[in-house]
Symmetry: C2
Subunit: 326 residues, 2 copies
C-alpha cells in the first residue's frame, strides 16, 4: 500500500425522486459534505408553462434542505397554490401543480439558464441558497427525456406519471436524447475519484429513475470496471414499491414483481444488494445471481430509519471492500 494513497471514503449515490432522496438524506446526515456526492436522474425533466422543471433534482434538494413537503411527497412544505388557482381561472394548464414557493425555484433556474449556466451550475447555485452542503449533481447537462411506450402510445414521462396517474400499461421505455447525451463531467469525475469507496443505487424506480443514469454513455461500463463496490438498495418490499409505479411496471413487463426481479435487472453492473428484512427469504436466490446481499429495514418512515439504512449501506460497502482486497 502506498503511504500517500488516499483513504477510500467517498460515496456516490445515484437517486431518483422521493424514495432515493430519503436515503440520500440519511447518507447526508452521517457523511460530511466532502464524502458524499448525490447524482440525480434528469430524464423526468421537462419544460412546463415555459419553465424548466427538474423534479428529481428538486426533490433531492428540498429533501436535503429539509424543506420538502412530507404530506404530498413532492414540492415544498407549507406550500400555497395562489398562482395555480389564478392560472386555472385564466384557462392555463393545471395538471402539473406548481406551488407558489416552488415556482421561484423554476423561475430562478430559468434566469440562471438565460445567464448561461449549465444545469450543473444552476443546481449548485440553488442548493447553496437553500443551505444544502453536499454536492447534488444532475446526471447530465444534456437533455434526456424518458418516453413510456404504453398501450395508449408513447407518453412523455410527466404525462404518464402525473397527468395519466400511471394508469396506462407500460410496454417499454425510450430515453430520448440518450445517444447525444454525456454524463456530467462532475459525475464522471466522482466515479473515477481514487477515494471512491462505493456507489450506492438509492431505492428508486429501476426503469425511469436508475436506468436513464446507467444508460448514459460509459456509465454502465464504468460501474462494471471500477474497483469500488456498487450497491443497490431494493425499491421493492414484499412485492410492492413504497411509492410509485415500480411494481406495476414490473408486472406489466412480465418480470418477477419482487426484490429478486430488481436484483436480476441490475445484476450485471452491481456487486451488492440491500434487501428488506421482510424479504429475507429471497436472499439465496439473489446470492445465486453472484451478488453479495445484506438485509435491513428499508422502509424509511423516520429520519432515524434513513440514517440507520445509510449506515447499513456504508458498513456493507466497507465489508465488501475488505472482501475484495482479500
Amino acid at each position: 500500500m502506498m503511504a500517500n494513497a488516499p483513504e477510500k471514503n467517498k460515496i456516490v449515490a445515484l437517486s431518483g425522486g422521493v424514495g432515493g432522496a430519503k436515503l440520500a438524506l440519511g447518507l447526508s446526515r452521517i457523511l460530511p459534505s466532502d464524502q458524499l456526492t448525490i447524482v440525480a436522474n434528469t430524464a423526468d425533466d421537462f419544460e412546463h408553462l415555459g419553465l424548466p422543471i427538474s423534479p428529481d433534482l428538486d426533490t433531492v434538494m428540498y429533501t436535503l434542505a429539509e424543506l420538502n413537503n412530507r404530506e404530498l411527497g413532492w414540492g415544498l412544505e407549507g406550500e400555497s397554490w395562489h398562482c395555480m388557482s389564478a392560472l386555472e381561472r385564466l384557462g392555463g394548464e393545471n395538471w402539473f401543480r406548481l406551488g407558489d414557493r416552488d415556482l421561484a425555484t423554476h423561475i430562478q433556474r430559468s434566469v440562471l439558464f438565460k445567464e448561461g449556466c449549465s444545469l450543473t451550475e444552476a443546481t449548485a447555485y440553488l442548493c447553496n441558497r437553500v443551505g444544502v452542503k453536499h454536492p447534488v449533481l444532475p446526471m447530465s447537462d444534456d437533455a434526456v427525456r424518458t418516453m413510456l411506450i404504453t398501450d395508449q402510445g408513447e407518453l412523455a414521462f410527466q404525462h404518464y406519471f402525473v397527468r395519466e396517474q400511471c394508469k396506462p400499461v407500460v410496454k417499454g421505455f425510450r430515453f430520448s436524447g440518450i445517444d447525444q447525451a454525456n454524463p456530467s463531467e462532475e459525475f464522471l469525475a466522482s466515479l473515477h475519484d481514487p477515494a471512491l469507496a462505493a456507489v450506492v443505487i438509492c431505492p428508486s424506480n429501476p426503469f425511469v429513475s436508475v436506468e436513464p443514469i446507467i444508460s448514459l454513455r460509459g456509465v454502465r461500463e464504468t460501474l462494471q470496471q471500477i474497483s469500488a463496490p456498487v450497491i443497490a438498495v431494493s425499491p421493492i418490499v414484499k412485492g410492492e414499491a413504497i411509492k410509485g409505479p415500480t411494481a406495476k411496471m414490473m408486472a406489466e413487463l412480465s418480470m418477477p414483481t419482487n426484490a429478486y426481479g430488481v436484483a436480476q435487472y441490475y445484476a450485471d453492473w452491481i456487486d451488492g444488494f440491500v434487501l428488506d428484512e421482510q424479504d429475507a427469504d429471497s436472499r439465496a436466490q439473489i446470492v445465486d445471481l453472484g451478488l453479495q446481499v445484506t438485509t435491513h429495514n428499508t422502509v424509511m418512515r423516520s429520519l432515524q430509519d434513513r440514517m440507520d439504512l445509510a449506515e447499513v449501506v456504508i458498513d456493507f460497502a466497507y465489508a465488501m471492500k475488505e472482501n475484495t482486497s482479500l
Copy 2:
C-alpha cells in the same frame, strides 16, 4: 346626410396605467362593449425573470375586471407574495414585485406567445378569461421600449420607475424600436372606423404613457386628420400629478408644471381639453392654444367620480362634433 351613414357612437380611449385605467373604467360603465375600445401603452413592457410583463395592459385589464389592488395602485387585490419571498431566498431579483396571482397572468401570456399568439391575441384571451367585455388593445404587437435619458445615464423604463423610484433627473426620452413598430391593425382600424365619435386621451403620463402611442407610425397624423374630435383629460391638477412622476418630469424638462403645460404639449394633435375645475383659471390660456376646453372634477376617488368624468368627456365630444358640423 346619407340614410345609412352609421351613427357616430364609438369612443377610442388611449391609456397608460393607473390614472388612465380609472377613466377607462368609468367609460366602460357607461358605454356598451361595442362602443368603447381601450388602447394601452406597451412601451413600459419588459421581460422580467424570463416572463413577458405588460404593466399598462394588465392595469387596464385588472381595473376593468375590478380585480385591481386599490391599496397598492398596481397588481391584483388580495395578492400574496410567497413566490417573491422564496425567490428572495434564492437570491433572485426582487426589485420588481410580482404577486402570486399576477404571476399567473405573465406565465399564461408566455404560454400564449409560445403557441404563436400576438400580444393583441394574448390580451384578448386574458381579458376574456377575467370577464372584461370591452376590447383592450396593445398599441402595437411590436416591441417599443421607453428609455429615459437621465442624469444617471439612459435607463430602461422600469429601472427608472420601479428600481430607481423615479429619482433620477429626466433630460429626455427615447422610444427604442419605434421606427420599426407599427400600430396594431385593430388600433388603426378603430381610428378609421366611420362610427368613431371621439378619441379620448386618458389622464396618463404625457411623456411615457401617451407619447409612445402617438409616436407610432402614422398615429399622430391620423389623429390630426380624422374628423372625430381628440380630447385629452388633464393628468395634472393644481400643478401636481395624482400619481406618478408627470409633474417632476415637466419641471426637469423646464416645462410649465401645470395643465397648460400638458395642453401645450398635446396642442398640435388634440381638439379639446378637459381641465380640472380647480384649474379653471388656466382655461383662457388653453383656449388660446386653439383648443376647446371644458372643466370638471378630474380627481377620480370613487367609481361615481370615474363615471361622472367619463360622461363629461363624452358629452364634450358630442358637443364638439355638433360644433364641427355647424
